[in-house]
Amino acid sequence: MTFDWAIIWQSMGALWQGALVTIALTVLTMLLSVPLGIVVALLRESSLKPVSALATAYVELMRNVPIILVVYWAFYVLPILTGIGFSPFLTGVVALVLNNTAYNSETFRSGIRSIRKGQTEAGLALGMSEGQAFRKIVLPQAWRRVLPILATTWVTLFKDTSLVSVIAVGDLAHTALQIRSQSFRVIEMLTAMAAIYWLLGYPQAKIVDWIHRKYGVTE
């Protein structure tokens, strides 16, 4: 068997485009799923039973079905539900946000619960509303505690974005696999794909390690 590594250099532009899409997917998904995760965490803690039950059902559903299923579901069902044709990229974002929000909500819920009740009471005793006490006192402390977990989620998400390639989002995985099937340079393209994911992922993993060291120890 002969290899033709030149295919990688010839495809560099396309692969770079794909990598950019992968990064955009990750950033956009995280930007949306972090605040949404906080909202879902609060809904789960709601004293209104139907609200908390609904939020719990959503989280348990998303945590127990494969992401790729959510991706397909978004691709086929979203246009029917909304009557709008989403681009593959947006469909991918919706699917990833649906999945990630569930995980982030669990992360925030444990973070929020780890803050002593007395902290909220100290805010209430000053005359703050429940909302003010949450925003000014609980959330900033919980945030610091969950940052290491969020960082780990980020790196996992970066790799999981490859799952949206099944609905032809032009991300790194999709681009590389496309070139593979057109050029039949299977080993070369898979190797290139691995190398690019690794090169992009490794620094992120190192940053996560640093965050764990800096914020991982609490009080």
């Binding site: 002593r116 007395g118 902290q119 009471e121 100290a122 805010g123 209430l124 005793a125 000053l126 005359g127 703050m128 509303s129 429940e130 003010q132 000014k136 006192i137 900033p140 402390q141 610091r144 009080e219």
Partner: protein
Amino acid sequence: MTDMPANLPKGSALPEVVIEYRDVRKQYGDFTALAGVNLEVRRGQVVCLIGPSGSGKSTLLRCTNGLETMTSGEVYFDGMPLSKDPRKTRLIRQRMGMVFQNFELFPHKTALGNIMMGPMTVLGLSEEKARARAEALLAKVGLSEKAGNYPANLSGGQQQRVAIARALAMEPEVMLFDEPTSALDPETIGEVLNVMKRLADDGMTMVVVTHEMTFARRVADHVVVFANGQIVEQGPPQQIFDAPETARTRDFLSHLGWDG
């Protein structure tokens, strides 16, 4: 049993009632934390609540600003009943400062930041004005040089003094103290009690749950003894400590090794 502070001469005009507890009851399942408490706190008074652990004194204090809900009864602040309306409760809380056993300083804020939080968030003070107020209060509790310290870098006594300053930053009419020295090392208790003593001397109305009998005797105008969710005796400190009328009070004081 009379609610009148007996140390005031008869016939002189009593200061107005600021806090009134009317038949306050609190039930936790089978456990009765408060079994119908009636009490009045008058403006400028220092009222110390003493008694064994679990006797209901902290629960009563926490009912005062609605951190604890009552099973039945009423608490009036300045004639207004503590209501279920969160807005009215918030307005009442702004006028009552509270100091906790475990300080509950905000660990993500400096000493100064802790004190500025209430005025800025609740009263809408500008950062500049809140800072000026906070600096003055830190000076008052003798901690000006610790303004930039985070709570983790303060001793227990220093943290509690900052917590007192934080409560004072709202310019409250009443201060509630929930065992303010119980979590402190013995050597730092004095600095906190001194700050409280000065506050009392300045005329602040104070309700203090405490195990510090020397403080209660020296600073209180009125001492209330709790047992099993009820007031068993109340009166001026001389009466409570030197000539207790009930066996329950004598029993409690002798357990503390108090010999008058």
